[in-house]
């Protein structure tokens, strides 16, 4: 990598980084900093004025049992959903990497959900899994699998699982995309070499495919983990955190503080807490799963 820092290059760097930097500053950093600072103010939804209250909002928030319950729900949801998405991604990535007839169409179908609006997916799943009008219950009943319809999004014990499967269905396609792309770029000679040493399908997978996918999988887990931890729209469209608080994850809880209790300051403190959790977890993640060490061995 070139390290010369000549004035000409400086101009290049400024011109190349500039647009991205200005865009991010305007639409991301400034609004985020504003929203984070609200955490230190007493600000209600129905008042343009605000007073500085220091850490009061945080003290209030951290004493809430609901907060910790929501954090638990968030962890279950994030791990479940990301796990499902990775499994989904590996399943289809591996199967659709092989030469099969109709592969192009199948790949497109698998990737499609990622490009459909979330509201479409939320409503489609509500319709399909509806206890009264849902086709899934109709099929289960007619096959005699269940005697009474399952209230997928309304049952205390099944709502979270149903939400996880729904997010898996939509966002698993993101994992499929990255995994397929990565699989395509594995040098076929690696497989030939493994085969010539007598490796079977399984050994090829363990010795060649997995190590090459490692970084991709870790990257998917990180990005999707962050996105799922902050996931709001799909859960809100489907359950609004219910039944009781069965699917009330942190974003839902924070949203309720903001727009049901109308307290923006406390909601901002909630956002702050979520932000810090993600930052800390990401740092730990990279400390323990630093993919750089092994990637050179595998190459």
């Amino acid at each position: 990598m070139s390290t010369s820092d000549s004035p000409r290059e400086g101009g290049w760097v400024a011109a190349a980084i500039g647009p991205a930097l200005i865009l991010l500053l305007l639409t991301a950093y400034i609004p985020i900093i504003y929203a984070l600072t609200l955490a230190f103010y007493n600000k209600t939804a129905f008042n343009p004025d605000m007073d500085f209250v220091g850490l009061k909002n945080f003290f209030w928030l951290l004493k809430r049992d609901d907060l910790w319950a929501a954090l638990g729900k968030s962890i279950v949801f994030t791990l479940g959903s990301v796990g499902f998405q990775l499994a989904f991604g590996l399943f289809f990535g591996l199967l659709l990497n092989e030469a099969i007839r109709g592969r192009a169409i199948m790949r497109s179908l698998v990737i499609l959900p990622y490009l459909l609006p979330t509201i479409v997916i939320g409503l489609v799943f509500r319709w399909i899994l509806n206890p009264e009008f849902g086709v899934v219950n109709q099929i289960l009943l007619s096959w005699g699998v269940v005697e009474r319809p399952i209230n997928f999004f309304g049952g205390l014990d099944v709502a979270m699982t149903s939400i996880i499967v729904t997010t898996g269905w939509q966002y698993g396609s993101f994992a499929v995309l990255l995994i397929l792309a990565r699989l395509q770029s594995i040098n076929p000679r690696l497989y030939e070499a493994a085969r010539s040493c007598g490796a079977g399908t399984w050994r090829c997978f363990v010795d060649v495919t997995l190590p090459n996918l490692r970084t991709t999988l870790l990257l998917i887990a990180l990005l999707r983990g962050i996105w799922m931890f902050n996931k709001f729209d799909l859960i809100w469209i489907i359950t609004k955190g219910g039944p009781l608080q069965a699917t009330e994850t942190l974003p839902i809880y924070v949203y309720k503080i903001a727009f049901q209790d109308f307290n923006f300051g406390r909601a901002a403190a909630g956002c702050f807490v979520m932000f810090v959790i993600l930052l800390v977890v990401s740092l730990i993640y990279f400390k323990y799963f630093n993919p750089t060490k092994e990637i050179e061995v595998n190459r």
């Binding site: 991010l24 092989e98 497109s108 490009l115 609006p117 990255l178 991709t216 990005l223 729209d233």
Partner: protein, 273 residues
């Protein structure tokens, strides 16, 4: 030979099961869209429908502002894609080809933006865009959408430029090409899959977004699809027929897009090497 046969069969079986899981919701969405009004709330439904009706589609196209929503969504997505491609390509190029102060901070800071839950961005964004007079405008929403897709796109382009050999570029320089010409004529064509992936990602996020569009577009004639679709969910009734019909119309071109672009996608998204 038989072992090979068994493996192929297993693969076929698994793939079939998986594909049913993926396709069935899409299939049922299409079926519902084509179900006559009178039968919509009358289960049990036939799994293979024989009586189709265009009622829902006709009502969608005639009685609602669906086409306006669609047009708005396409304009905004196109804008977001263009800005993303230019900004991400340039930034990715700079990250991969130059060493400069604050480089790592810049790269890290792009990803930090994803760590903030977007729920509360409503207020600052509303304030800023009101002050700038950019509410109910395409440009305002395009900028907001860029903020969610640009960070990962910078990453995609950064990663992609790393696998484009520097020798290509250097060869162009030695034959007298300027840095800019080398970038345009040598680097960009070979980075095409990365660029297309970035474009698709920008499109997907813009196309999906509800939160920003809801805050910034308050005039119904400026609604994008997701916000427009939300108007079909009324307190009194969820208009399932309209919702499924619009979902169907939205899915078809999206499917075509993925189908045509997948060759590039398969290469462009190869990040995390």
């Amino acid at each position: 030979m038989t072992a090979h046969f068994v493996v192929r069969w297993m693969r076929f079986m698994w793939l079939s099961v998986g594909m049913i899981f993926v396709v069935f919701p899409l299939y049922w969405m299409a079926t519902t869209a084509l179900t006559p009004r009178a039968e919509l709330f009358k289960p049990p439904y036939p799994l293979l429908r024989t009586s189709y009706s265009l009622e829902n589609l006709i009502e969608l196209l005639s009685a609602t502002q669906f086409l306006t929503f669609l047009k708005n969504s396409l304009i905004v997505a196109a804008g977001a894609v263009c800005i993303n491609v230019v900004a991400a390509t340039l930034a990715g190029y700079a990250l991969s080809r130059f060493a400069f102060r604050g480089k790592n901070l810049f790269a890290a800071a792009t990803l930090w933006t994803y760590m903030f839950p977007p729920i509360l961005l409503a207020i600052p964004l509303y304030l800023m865009f009101s002050t700038l007079g950019m509410r109910n405008s395409y440009s305002g929403l395009i900028l907001a959408h860029v903020s969610i897709s640009l960070p990962l796109n910078i990453w995609i382009m950064w990663q992609y430029f790393q696998v484009v050999p520097r020798s290509l570029e250097e060869a162009a320089w030695t034959s007298g090409a300027s840095r800019f010409r080398a970038l345009c004529e040598v680097l960009l064509p070979s980075a095409m899959p990365g660029i297309i992936s970035a474009a698709i990602f920008a499109f997907a996020l813009s196309w999906n977004d509800f939160a920003f569009a809801f805050i910034l577009q308050t005039d119904i004639s400026m609604f994008t699809l997701p916000v427009g679709l939300a108007t079909f969910v009324e307190q009194s009734a969820i208009h399932w027929g309209l919702i499924m019909a619009s979902s169907l119309i939205v899915s078809l071109p999206t499917f075509a897009l993925v189908f045509l672009m997948q060759r590039y996608l398969m290469r462009g998204f190869a990040i995390g090497k």
